[in-house]
């Protein structure tokens, strides 16, 4: 590691531990195959190919690696969900849709270190028995798509991909598949439908769990870019040694993407759980902007529930005792953030200072979800747009205090009642912002608006439905 030099001004923070981002912003680094191999690349693939596929999966299970795409599901466990009696082809899909607001890590792997991803994918494909894999990459990364295709071509020429890889029985084709600008294509079943050439409407689960009924109704493993890169390091270190990195049940490193009102936003790779939110903001990111105080943090991408700057959380430690934890003292791992009522999600930390109006922030987020709802299922399609319309009004000064309750109940009518987790993703911001900042939000509305806010169509509908209900009960 000592020999690695980084581009001036882009050096990692001393508290970082760079595994996945080892080569990001590295001086003299490029995306060529030769560069990667000269640095010891593809040794882990050789190592994995000398193992049995089940042994590779076992190592990944032992490592405790959890998915970095959002849900934090144990990767090795997911791989074992392929039905044992399966006779259909198995597919591996790398989820490179990176579109959760606040998340910007996969971008740099894809642009700067494509071979690390290809190596991780080849190992994963070998483990799960896939002979064909796809990288579903968001449309807004056109250069990365080209870079990946070149990297794949090179790897095929070098027999790292393609037929009988490195003289073994194992063959693998990797196809770069470009999306076209839709957040929902990050949801794994939406992604699969999109890849199949249909509208990216997520599928109902059950029955369509991808590991059994995925792409073309064949078993399919979907993993995030960062997750797949970790697989390479699990093989390099061995499962148990990898598990020692980070903290218990929260192993390895992860890349935190910090944006918003800090002095030095950016990406930071840290050992999971070995840094607190306060350290991240104050030490690593240089603190809040001068003269500003921390108001709120969205810790895991815009879908995660917001935390208040001055909040204290009561959490239960594994030994059963409960303790108070201030926001700045939260260790950045999967479990503690969950215990605090939010989630580590995709690693996108959005920091909000006291110059920001909460109604404006919520409206911005609601606009995102209203735009990105695929529109397939009723609660999300109607609810997301409705919530946006309400916060639009609040921001324009046309909100009424009852709007806040309406918002909360709309979110409640979405959560848990939709086809895919987008429902929660769009409900949680509204729910958490209201729980944590109700006074400020109510303050942004006015009683006076109640009389003038409604439009004639709405008044007509109200009257009409009341009449219909009355007629209905009479009928």
């Amino acid at each position: 590691m000592d020999s690695i030099r980084y581009i001036a001004g882009k050096e990692p923070h001393p508290r970082e531990r760079r595994m996945i981002f080892r080569n990001v912003d590295r001086e003299g680094w490029d995306t060529r195959f030769a560069t990667y191999v000269a640095d010891g690349g593809y040794l882990e693939l050789r190592k994995a190919l000398a193992m049995k596929p089940a042994e590779v999966t076992a190592e990944v299970r032992t490592s405790g690696l959890r998915g970095r795409g959002g849900a934090g599901f144990p990767t090795g466990v997911k791989w074992t969900f392929i039905p044992p009696d399966n006779t259909k082809p198995v597919y591996l899909i790398c989820n490179a849709d990176e579109s959760e607001p606040g998340t910007f890590k996969d971008r740099y792997i894809l642009h700067q270190d494509p071979h690390q991803l290809l190596e991780g994918m080849a190992i994963a494909a070998y483990a799960v028995g896939a002979r064909k894999a796809f990288i579903y990459i968001r449309e807004e990364f056109p250069d990365a798509a080209r870079i990946l295709e070149e990297a794949i071509d090179e790897a095929v020429r070098e027999n790292i991909l393609g037929e009988n890889i490195l003289g073994t029985e194992f063959s693998l084709e990797i196809i770069v598949h470009r999306g076209a600008g839709a957040y929902i294509c990050g949801e794994e079943t939406g992604l699969i439908e999109s890849l199949e050439g249909k509208r990216p409407y997520p599928r109902i689960k059950p029955p369509y769990f991808p590991a059994a009924l995925g792409l073309w109704m064949c078993p399919t493993i979907v993993n995030n870019v960062e997750t797949l890169c970790h697989v390479k390091h699990v093989i390099a270190m061995g499962g148990s040694e990898y598990a020692a990195v980070g903290t218990r049940n929260n192993s390895g490193t992860r890349i935190l993407c910090v944006s918003g009102d800090v002095v030095k936003p950016g990406y930071y790779e840290i050992e999971v759980g070995r840094m607190t939110l306060g350290e991240l903001i104050d030490d690593v990111c240089g603190g809040m902007r001068p003269g500003r105080a921390l108001k709120a943090v969205i810790p895991g991408g815009s879908s995660s529930k917001v935390l208040r700057g001055d909040e204290t959380f009561t959490i239960r430690t594994p030994d059963g005792a409960s303790s108070g934890l201030a926001l700045r003292d939260i260790p950045l791992d999967f479990d503690t953030l969950a215990a605090c009522g939010s989630m580590a999600g995709s690693g996108g930390v959005i920091v909000i200072d006291d110059s920001r109006s909460i109604s404006w922030v919520l409206n911005n987020i609601n606009a995102f979800y209203a735009h990105e709802s695929c529109g397939q299922c009723t609660p999300c399609r109607e609810g997301a747009l409705w919530m946006r319309k309400i916060t639009d009004r609040v921001v324009e000064g046309r909100g009424t205090p009852t709007d806040i309750d309406t918002l909360l109940s709309i979110a409640g009518q979405i959560e848990g009642r939709t086809i895919c987790a987008f429902g929660e993703a769009c409900a949680w911001p509204t729910q958490s912002f209201i729980h944590k900042f109700r006074d400020e939000l109510t303050g942004a509305t006015s009683e006076d608006n109640a009389a003038k806010a409604s439009n004639p169509e709405a008044v007509a509908q109200r009257r009409y439905l009341a009449e219909a209900a009355a007629a209905g009960s009479a009928r």
Partner: protein, 185 residues
Amino acid sequence: MPPNPKPATPLDLPDELRQKIDAIVSRYPESPRAAVLMVLHSLQGRFGYISEDGIRWTAERLGLEPVKVLEVVSFYPGFHQHPVGRLHFRVCRTLSCAMAGSIELMEKLCELKGIDIKAMHGHRNPVLVSDDGEVSVEYAECLAACGFAPVCMVNHDTHEHLTADKAADLLGQYRAKSGETSAAH
């Protein structure tokens, strides 16, 4: 390569593009339908947008009903159904960028090109084109570079820290560049 704003019918596809599309389709022996996004990208790369004819051509090429291609094209903001400007600006509208001033950037771009931003609607009318066809603007959702906000794409390039005060300069740079290429021709 900047998108070509001239409407053209994809029925006169150059051989080279046809071959490229054949190669794309051949990667999906399981189902040609799966090639639809990649084929549409090829067409948009060549023509700058997906025309009616483009939809029909794609449908025919992949053995689909045209409506199944329209379902896809109209879902994704990444596909345009009308020509865009020679310089297509996609300004990130999402939280981190908005906090860093991307809304002001959009306003500035519109001001520089005399575009009436009030005509914009996220779903119904997402793209506004300047009268001279040089510039089109559109809001994008999070472009995954939030730490370096505001973020804006111009055609295929991504620009970070692009605050409103840098808009005029950036436009100038692109003009200079296209000036060079046209001078080289």
